[in-house]
């Protein structure tokens, strides 16, 4: 196991305008995220208007509780002078 920073950028993204499963109501953003170490993973961009998502946008991980499991999702990176700290846990891959 190797730790990763939980920071990365949007590699590609789509906006679902149709609900496929009632647990995940549209609209929502599915994105391919490129982590700082180059690893790609599929996730969601949350707490952000879909209209502002773009390829290359800097994002950071947040862990969301879904049906008893924690899923790594992403929000736009908030730039501060403080060192980046995860609010709700850490990701290891």
């Amino acid at each position: 196991m190797k730790s990763v920073s939980g920071q990365g950028e949007v590699f590609s993204f789509v906006i679902y305008h149709r609900t496929y499963h009632p647990a995940i109501p549209a609209p929502y953003v599915v994105a391919s995220i490129k982590l700082d170490n180059g690893v790609l993973l599929i996730s969601n961009i949350i707490d952000c208007e879909p209209e502002i998502v773009h390829i290359g946008m800097q994002v950071q991980v947040v862990f969301e509780q879904k049906s008893g499991i924690k899923l790594p999702m992403f929000t736009p990176t908030v730039h501060t002078n403080k060192p980046f700290q995860l609010k709700r846990g850490n990701i290891s891959a």
Partner: protein
């Protein structure tokens, strides 16, 4: 003895929402029509290869699809099997029939695609692995990810995707068998809602019940055939087993590996191909294949399709029957059938004059599989 494989007959059932028909029933109809079209009799058939669509699946309990269909057709073949390559499957079973004929394993091989997804609702919206936890459902989502990459890398526009859909509808308007015969305008395309942005409804193929069949036999039987035969000039496959975590998975197709290679082996350049039949589950896949096969340079497919360039009056008509986008979802077998009809001169109002060569592609699963077939008179 000349074992060179050739296409001898084609046939299909109606396509659309056919609630009172089963997939096997439709397949028997398609098979019967293909055998008649070849001028052969059911007793001549000694090979059966099948491509059951995703809703039907390859197994019903422990009964494989080729066995269920073969039993309904009353066959005891010398060679059989089914393939699971998603949308690359129909071209794959033609290739398999060609190999079986040329190896002498059978002499008349029936190739059948069939499915009835509209009576098994939701079958095209399946979840794909762990990504479903994030709402990545259906084939539209992953192709939309590829579409967004193409827009980012090459400045491809939504209107350019729309051009592919408009061309498909313009071709379909000339095909009495097509499900969508109404033309589409750019304004109608722009005003339509997104399914999975950036893909709109017109960017996504139809879902249809129906079956299509092709007879492959050897040159030995050419004299017995009712219609002019179609020659197999070349074929090949390439696959990309990368996942959504693989670099470049959304940026290119395995078609880039087998397409140019097959063309080179046949001694043909892209500009020598008269009939271009590209698997078109989504408009983005047509753009990516135009580049992969060398019909235009990488990154230039968007401008290439502008102004109706792949429509009936364009410099490179693509999918003259309307394809999956506007004719019907025929697994890929209807693409083969249209190529054969064009080469025979049977395409009526949509006939490409003097057509002598055709290219047919198949593309499937999570952008993982690709098959290529080059045909000639």
């Amino acid at each position: 003895m000349n074992r060179e494989a050739l296409i001898a007959g084609v046939g299909h059932s109606p396509f659309g929402k056919l609630s009172d028909r089963t997939a096997l029933d439709l397949e028997v109809e398609a098979a019967t029509r293909a055998i008649e079209d070849a001028g052969l009799s059911p007793q001549d058939v000694d090979g059966l290869v099948t491509d059951p669509g995703p809703a039907q699946g390859i197994l019903n309990g422990i009964t494989p699809h080729y066995l269920a269909l073969g039993q309904m057709l009353g066959l005891n073949p010398r060679y059989t099997g089914s393939e699971i390559l998603g949308g690359a499957g129909s071209v794959a079973i033609i290739q398999r029939a060609v190999m079986a004929i040329e190896a002498g394993l059978c002499s008349v091989c029936l190739c059948v695609y069939g499915d009835a997804p509209l009576s098994a609702k939701g079958s095209f919206d399946y979840a794909r692995g762990d990504e479903a936890a994030f709402g990545l459902f259906g084939a539209a989502g992953l192709h939309a990810l590829a579409a967004k990459r193409h827009m980012h890398l090459w400045d491809t526009t939504g209107d350019q995707f729309g051009e592919v859909a408009i061309a498909a509808r313009a071709h379909a308007a000339l095909n009495p068998n097509a499900q969508l015969q109404q033309p589409l305008t750019i304004n109608e395309y722009r005003e339509a809602r997104y399914i999975v942005e950036p893909l709109k409804k017109a960017d996504c193929c139809l879902i249809s019940d129906g079956a299509a069949a092709v007879i492959v036999t050897s040159a030995d039987r050419a004299a017995d055939l009712l219609k002019p035969h179609t020659r197999i000039l070349g074929y090949g496959q390439a696959h990309d087993f990368g996942t959504y975590s693989s670099p470049d998975h959304f940026d290119s197709l395995p078609a880039a590996r087998c397409g140019p290679e097959v063309l080179e082996k046949t001694g043909l350049a892209p500009s020598d191909i008269d009939v271009v039949q590209l698997y078109d589950c989504f408009t983005i896949v047509v753009l990516m294949q135009l580049e992969a096969y060398g019909f235009c340079a990488v990154g230039e497919a968007g401008p290439f399709v502008e102004g109706g360039n792949i429509g009936p009056q364009g410099s490179l008509p693509v999918n003259t029957s309307g394809g999956l986008l506007a004719e019907a979802y025929g697994g890929g077998m209807l693409h083969v059938i249209e190529a054969v009809r064009q080469l025979r001169g049977e395409a009526e109002d949509r006939q490409i004059r003097g057509a002598e060569t055709a290219l047919v592609s198949g593309h499937g699963l999570g952008m993982n599989t690709h098959t290529t077939l080059v045909l000639g008179v």
